[in-house]
């Protein structure tokens, strides 16, 4: 552990840390453009200059290129270093268009910040600026090459980190171009990260174009709900509209990046067609009326059919809080069935897979990135959970061997080349050279092949791709509460009615089943069919908890208030002649709260908060502390 002195502050950092990171560790921010923690050093921009007073090499050096060494004395404020940094900013500003007022990056722009920090303010170059022709890169990403400062981050990310081949560096000298051979949608499923990683406004989120400045956003730490990995995000909203989603760093999971599905799937939150008003038999009612009617009808149902014939259905896309309350509702009504998974096999396999994982055997994405052998068993990471595929690529880039386990489908030894990694075929888990690996990770689908792989003894770690952001949590609850699959209960023929929460029950729910109510924020088939509809909040409109595929509980915070986006108002509502205390479309309420309200309406006394009892330990979850494994109580 080298010890060095940076601006009179003594610093001790792990071997291999560069001077720039060492300075960051004690809060000294040295300007940098090309260096990025996930991409490493490039030495291209030359703005991170410092002066080495003691140690080798002496003099002005680029802090990103220089490993911190024992006994080094570094000055970040040295006159010569500062002068060089000022020059670098001047050079970059020679051609930068200064179009901040119409640039979506304005306010969240590294170039703005470091230009101010660099102290360059008076223009000495009086020639023409160079200009470029921009490209159409698809519906998600805007391209404005004039703003480019040639830090090469985009190309390094896109090609090296993410294995993309349709975008890169072209040209030379002062006419370097970052783009595609021709106009067209970026092919990489990680293209949206260009928006985050570009330090200036070359790549901006087209879906949020010209909508808001950084200081206008409603933002909060959140978790992606679009698959089971639980990548960390920062959604940004304004005027009751979810505008964009940015990656939030979590070194154990997604690192610095997210996939395009996680970034560009906002439409469902904003759509005016979303259930926003409680409905009884298709009629809009206020929430009191909806709850009264539901209480009444439930009462009647229980009297006629008996509690045995009622099923309460939770869902792997609903928060822990909602699913815990679903179980309490079952207890309260003594309903015959509680179900979290519709499909019987999926229910069994998910419980088995999650039930057998321990702290030592459950692999995080960081474990995958650090693996020396990765086997893909009965799943398609690129399709199901793109960030898993990106993690596999990082392992592969560092030399890990990647295997696809598919019995008898291809010749042994054949090589699969995806843009992300090369893999070889293995016939069975037993044929994997696990003994040669120090850090093997098996990535499994929730199926028989995946479960079979679990027979392997440690040190192998496992990552299961589950069905939904809270599938792990649902499996925990199902085990704890003795929940069955809905299909199983239906097959037994006892069920006559269901109350469902944020579920995607298949259309083929038999006609003779009475859908007493569904609570959801998505316009599902069940919403069409339910007698009573309770609109719920989407994940960005509430605080909640998901447990991801590795058993890591994570808290997401409310980003925005529910309500019709202002641009979604109907012409009749404009100008707004009514005087209302709440925003239009603001009825949605978290599912767990609907359940609480319903239970107290039906006479339940002294309701505990959802995260109580066994789940009390998740109450203090801090969204910015990386999450908490629920596996710690296991063997």
């Amino acid at each position: 552990m080298p010890k060095l002195i940076i601006d009179t502050i003594a610093v001790e950092v792990p071997e291999g840390t560069n001077v720039l990171e060492a300075a960051r560790s004690v809060g000294i921010v040295i300007p940098h453009f090309c260096w990025h923690p996930a991409l490493g050093k490039a030495g291209a921009c030359r703005v991170c200059a410092v002066k080495i007073l003691e140690g080798t090499p002496k003099g002005v050096q680029m802090s990103c290129m220089l490993p911190a060494q024992d006994g080094m004395v570094v000055s970040t404020g040295d006159e010569e270093a500062v002068a060089l940094r000022r020059s670098v900013i001047e050079w970059l500003m020679i051609n930068h268009p200064h179009d901040c007022p119409v640039c979506d990056e304005g306010g969240e722009c590294q170039l703005q910040d470091f230009t101010i920090a660099g102290g360059h303010s008076i223009r000495r170059y009086d020639g023409r600026k160079r200009t470029y022709i921009n490209q159409y890169l698809g519906p998600y990403i805007e391209h404005e090459m004039n703003r480019c400062i040639q830090c090469y981050r985009c190309a390094r990310f896109y090609q090296e980190y993410a294995g993309g081949t349709d975008f890169g560096t072209m040209g030379r000298a002062a006419m370097i171009y970052f783009g595609r051979q021709q106009d067209g949608q970026l092919e990489s499923p990680f293209s949206g990260n260009l928006v985050d990683i570009c330090p200036t406004g070359v790549f901006t989120d087209k879906t949020a174009r010209f909508r808001a400045r950084y200081w206008d956003y409603d933002m909060a730490p959140s978790v992606c709900p679009h698959c089971s990995l639980g990548c960390n995000t920062i959604p940004a909203a304004r005027y009751r509209e979810l505008l964009k989603v940015m990656a939030r760093r979590n070194d154990a999971i997604n690192g610095w990046f997210i996939c395009d599905r996680g970034r560009f799937s906002n439409a469902a939150v904003n759509t005016p067609e979303r259930p926003r008003q409680p409905l009884v038999d298709g009629q809009e009612v206020d929430w009191n009326k909806a709850l009264d009617t539901l209480a009444e009808r439930l009462q009647k149902f229980l009297e006629i059919h008996g509690p045995e014939s009622l099923a309460i259905v939770g869902s792997p896309r609903m928060s822990m809080e909602g699913n815990i309350m679903a179980a309490r509702l079952r207890d309260f009504l003594k309903a015959g069935t509680l179900s979290y998974f519709e499909d019987t096999e999926l229910n069994r396999r998910t419980l088995e897979a999650t039930g057998r994982l321990t702290r030592d055997t459950s692999a995080s994405l960081a474990d995958v990135r650090g693996a020396d052998l990765v086997a893909i068993i009965g799943c398609d990471p690129s399709e199901q959970s793109p960030m898993m595929a990106l993690a596999i690529r990082q392992a592969w880039r560092k030399g890990a061997r990647v295997f696809r386990v598919e019995s008898g489908r291809s010749e042994a030894g054949d090589t699969g080349i995806s843009p992300l990694y090369e893999s070889s075929h293995a016939d069975s888990v037993a044929s994997l050279p696990l003994a040669e690996a120090a850090r093997p990770v098996l990535i499994c689908g929730t199926n028989e092949a995946g479960l079979e792989a679990l027979q392997i003894t440690p040190p192998a770690k496992f990552a299961f791709l589950l069905n939904g952001p809270n599938a792990f949590g649902c499996a925990e609850l199902a085990a704890e509460q003795g929940a069955a699959s809905l299909a199983e209960a239906l097959a037994a023929g006892t069920i006559k009615g269901v109350v469902a929460f944020e579920t995607d029950l298949a259309d083929d729910l038999p006609d003779n089943i009475q859908v007493l109510a569904t609570a959801d924020w998505r316009a599902t088939a069940l919403v069409e069919r339910a007698e009573i509809v309770l609109p719920t909040t989407a994940w960005v409109e509430m605080d909640g908890t998901f447990i991801n595929n590795e058993g890591r509980a994570q808290r997401f915070k409310q980003v925005m208030h529910p309500g019709l986006p202002i641009k979604g108002l109907t012409p009749e509502l404009h100008p707004p002649h009514g005087f209302r205390k709440t925003a239009p479309g603001s009825e949605p309420t978290p599912a767990w709260q609907w359940i609480e309200l319903l239970m107290s309406r039906m006479g339940a006394q002294s309701l505990d908060a959802p995260l109580s009892g066994h789940w009390e330990r998740l109450k203090q979850l801090d969204p910015e502390q990386g999450g908490l494994s629920v596996l710690h109580e296991r063997n």
Binding site: K41, G43, A44, C45, R46, V47, A49, V60, M62, M65, A83, L84, S87, V88, W91, L92, I94, N95, R124, Y125, G127, I149, Q150, Y152, T169, G171, R172, A173, A174, M175, I176
Partner: protein, 425 residues
């Protein structure tokens, strides 16, 4: 004067393999591969005092000695024939006259380094030289001088010629390796140095054509003899000088290292052209600061030229007469460097066009006194570029400021170029 590199040359054509061998060609190679150890070959090169002819003048034997012999995997040797430094054309002449010399030199270097696969990276425009080399490699292979188990000595060597797509930066050794690997020709960070981690991550030596072409003579006649070819005791061997500009004879000539600038110009160059008098020259290729008549007596050797404030570089001498505008000459050079920047780092990519803009402004009569400060600043700050291209590019600007400050001031004060319209040729 003793000729080592041009000994076998015919005025009008390339030497043939038979002719080369009749005059002792490939004898050094046969001797080495049969009777010398790799270390003995390397030691001879160290003893000879041979320094790199590609521009930096790094001692060749020393460079070889950095290559670790115990790392697993292959080692590589690359001959750098990118030769795009303006004013430099020695490697082309050498290869057009006698490609066998390079083949033999590379074989010897490869043997010393125990390299079994070597590459020649040649500039795209050098079609004739490439053609000659291809022929020479084929013939040498057929004659059993390359290939496997060469001359039954147990050593094997494959030699591949790569015709580059071409750019000045491809001559920088790490950019060259990227280009050879099919990547963009951006230089790589050092450390790690190529001797440890070079082509495809393996230990690699990059040497210039002329450097390698000297090795057969060193092995054949011995390092002491070769060293003694120089004009002064501090120097070693001969050097190809490429002369251009306002002298009588512009050609590539082999001369003893350490000969003075004046001797070169007045001797083999036949003096200045009629009506021209010597004003300045670029002593060692476009990236070296100017010499003036004050430097007439400077011995043209690495250390002496460096001591006099410039660099021997590649030995490309460009001579300017009294009617040459040094601002215009410098601008011309800077245009080249700005265009040839690889675009990787900010100081070079953006700084050189800025310098170009300032020089254009001054040359067009729009210069301001503060422009001199901007130029000075750039001379200093471009030292912090990622590779040696940008500091090299500022060589002539540094020379301009140091030696021709009055000419710059005159441009600015008069609001025009004092040489415009006064050129005699």
């Amino acid at each position: 004067m003793e000729q080592v590199l041009f000994r076998h040359n015919h005025p009008d054509r390339m030497v043939s393999l038979e002719e080369y061998r009749l005059e002792g060609g490939f004898e050094a190679w046969a001797k080495a591969v049969r009777a010398m150890s790799p270390d003995e070959v390397q030691q001879a090169v160290i003893d000879s005092g041979l320094r790199g002819r590609g521009g930096a003048g790094f001692p060749t034997g020393k460079k070889w000695s950095f290559v670790p012999r115990d790392l697993p995997g292959p080692r590589y040797l690359i001959c750098n024939c990118d030769e795009m430094e303006p004013g430099t054309y020695k490697d082309r002449v050498l290869l057009e006259k006698n490609p066998y010399l390079l083949v033999e030199g590379m074989a010897l270097a490869a043997y010393a380094l125990q390299v079994n696969h070597a590459f020649i990276f040649i500039r795209r425009g050098y079609e004739q030289a490439a053609h000659n080399l291809r022929q020479a490699i084929d013939e040498a292979r057929r004659a059993g001088l390359l290939g496997s188990n060469i001359l039954a000595g147990g050593f094997s060597l494959e030699l591949d010629l790569h015709q580059s797509a071409g750019r000045y930066i491809c001559g920088e050794e790490t950019a060259l390796m990227n280009a050879l690997e099919g990547l963009r020709a951006n230089p790589r960070a050092k450390p790690p140095f190529p001797a440890i981690k070079g082509l495809w991550g393996q230990p690699t030596v990059v040497n210039n054509v002329e450097t390698l072409a000297n090795i057969p003579a060193i092995i054949e006649r011995g390092p002491a003899w070769w060293k003694g070819l120089a004009a002064i005791p501090e120097a070693a061997g001969t050097k190809l000088f490429c002369i251009s500009g306002h002298v009588q004879k512009t050609e590539c000539i082999e001369l003893p290292l350490g000969i003075t600038l004046g001797e070169i110009i007045d001797g083999p160059c036949g003096g200045m052209r009629p009506g021209s008098s010597f004003k300045a020259c670029i002593p060692g290729g476009a990236s070296t600061p100017y010499f003036t008549s004050d430097h007439w007596q400077v011995a043209m050797d690495f250390d002496a030229v460096a001591k006099a404030g410039s660099r021997l570089g590649t030995g490309g001498i460009v001579v300017f007469d009294q009617n040459t505008c040094m601002v215009g000459a410098t601008l011309n050079l800077i245009r080249f460097f700005a265009r040839e920047s690889c675009g990787w780092c900010t100081p070079c990519r953006e700084g050189l066009p800025f310098v170009q803009h300032i020089l254009e402004r001054i040359e067009d009569g729009l210069g301001r006194p503060e422009d001199i400060d901007i130029l000075r600043e750039h001379v200093q700050r471009l030292n912090y570029a990622f590779c040696a291209l940008a500091p090299g590019a500022m060589g002539p600007v540094e020379g301009l400021l140091r030696l021709f400050g009055d000419e710059l001031d005159e441009h600015i004060a008069k609001g025009k170029c004092p040489f415009k319209g006064s050129r005699s040729h």
